[in-house]
Amino acid sequence: MSTNTQSSRSMPGRGFLRPGGWIAFCLLALASPAFAGWNGLNMTKGVTELSAIIYDLHMLILWVCVVIAVLVFGAMIYSIIRFRKSRGAVPDTSMVHSNKAEIIWTLIPVFILVAMAIPAARALIKIEDTRNSELTIKVTAYQWKWQYDYLDSGVTFFSTLAESSNFAREKGSGIDPNTVDHYLLEVDHHMVIPVDTKVRLLLTGNDVIHAWWVPAFGMKKDAIPGFVNEMWIKATETGTYRGQCAELCGRDHGFMPIVVDVVSKDDFNRWLEANKPAPEVAPSPPAAEPAAPAAAAPSGPTNS
């Protein structure tokens, strides 16, 4: 299911090669002594239908901003260089007002905004359309772990920070985080979803507000006690994707990651069968992930 190459896809390393990344990088040339290894400058395109739309929208508005910035900053820099007192510039004190100029620079931004609002609204309408999903998973957030309920099949389990990260993150643990695989981005039990399937997530919180976010899926949404929020994902590539809780939820807010394995439909059905609760027995945790070499081997139901 997940290999090292696949899992690296969730790491934001490819933005470096994109034009937006380069622009951003050049802006910071001042602060970057070395190029090698300085990755993760831009949003990634992700692996779902929505994440690609969101990425395109992000790049569109980024470029619009870059173009406006070049024009506006260009005018400012021109004025600063051209009209210096030290170069003998004489002020044109009659230039105090121009209806024409002011109307123009009120209207042009309006047109630009309308032009950006249209694709944004179209994307939003698609994002909010959770109909026709093929699988529903209820995600419940706790301080500080996630619970996944596969409503159609009864599979249910908790997902907490992997032990290797949990040991290393203690103050004074003496463990170098760089030696821990996927430090803070690994859990004991991965969430598993099938590829090319519209999966609907129902999000709720048990204690305080959390937010479920996997950058490669493009979306984040709050998990709020007493509310059920909806969002959908349709992953187009198999692999392992990692994210984190995105809403401050107390002490261990930084330590409740999300790991999702996107697998083929067949693999998913096998996984589902293997983890279905035996009748009239309390839900058992899923079998140890064959695909999670970095996770400490889960020896039993630690959370449920």
Partner: protein
Amino acid sequence: MAYSNVETHAHDEKPKGITRWLFTTNHKDIGTLYLSFACIMFFVGGLMALGIRAELWKPGLQIFDPVTFNSLTTNHALVMIFGAVMPAWVGFANWMIPMQIGAPDMALPRMNNYSFWILPFAFMLLLGTWFVPGGAPAGGWTLYPPLSLQSGNNLPMAIFAIHLMGASSIMGAINVIVTIMNMRAPGMSLLKMPLFVWTWLITAYLLIAVMPVLAGAVTMLLTDHFFGTSFFSAAGGGDPVMYQHIFWFFGHPEVYILILPAFGIISEILPTFSRKPLFGYESMVYATASIAFLSFIVWAHHMFTVGMPLAGELFFMLSTMLIAVPTGVKVFNWTATMYRGSLSFETPMLFAIAFLFLFTIGGFSGLMLAIVPADFQYHDTYFVVAHFHYVLVPGSIFAIMAGVYYWLPKWTGHRYNESLGKVHFWLSAIFVNVLFFPQHFLGLAGMPRRIPDYSTQFTDWNMVSTIGAFGFGLSQILFVIVIWRCVRGGEKAPARAWEGAHGLEWELPSPAPYHTWETAPDTATITRGAEH
């Protein structure tokens, strides 16, 4: 000269000792108190920021446990917003508004004293939470329930502190409005007022409109926690999201409270050092008013991920995007002010130009954040942190610094050391970008905000950011040195300290006497001053 009668100087006797400051009703003394308080809080909040950045130097927990880290982020925000930036603006209002509109003092001088002296007590309460069992508030400065209700003894202390700050702000705002409405010199019509006065007038209305809303929201937290109400508890029939709506109905106008006076100061400084009147004075006033109006109908863009109906998301996206129009008008007018001027680059002008560039970058990221689908990625990441620090630090704080350098000669009667001022500027301008620009990358790469520890791929840019933080923080010591030396002595400043300066304050001697405009300026003086 309009202002050189001997009589005034006979009145220039100042009370001596500590009682001068405790009991003062003089707008200049109170302005000084506010600005000094803001400066102290800037360093308190700054130390917290350095604590945050030190912990984020590399992955793993080195210095703080996670709860202390959360307390640092929470208190850094509260101290910087309510302790540093807002009091600094009230300090400027006190010093400058009476002098700029030809009034002898603020309209309500005793309330003025009271509104300042509430503040030290408010901050003793807030900072005192660090020493109570359970520690300081750690639920974020927005105090979202249910998380904020999990705190212990710090909650009522923080809430009462917010009540006191709100009362202080409301009194300050009432004072500003009454002063501007009633105490303008004859002939100083509304559209002759300097833009700093205009922006503060609008800011004051925002303050009066929204500070009670914040007070109400936190009071509901208090009763939820101690008196068994369920305003924000779903289990009791309440709604945790309602808190966010109420909070941001305060919170969004609040961000304009932090930036509108900055617009005013920049609109004073750019014309002075361009030796050319402000371009489009009236459209600047209208743009400020439109921004203030729009600030009331965009609040939910802070909470796009709570799961709003599609119609709500569309409305708040479009209204938020609209703010770019009046803000754009301002930036274009400022650029047009410099165009065909005769520019010189003293420290206030340098800070104003840096404001122009860097605030605009903050505006661009703000526009990106308004696009709801993209915001689903940006929300609660370091991209947001980068955005609001760009509008607050090289925005509000740079404008405060520009204003301090601009009016220091008027306040102290001395010129500050221009070379040191420029060194301070260049260090600040460089390090502020080293500090905050990489945070855009971190956010886009997927680093959430408010985490004490992070995955290893975020290490490099966090290190850069931390270097910038310490560089920026240490540079501010220079700011205090420049001010201190200027207060103690230096080259004598003339009444009109800057060649291109217009406005009634420059008709007064430097330093401004203890009592000014006891006789209102004549029309000729006002007309000369109102050449914006």
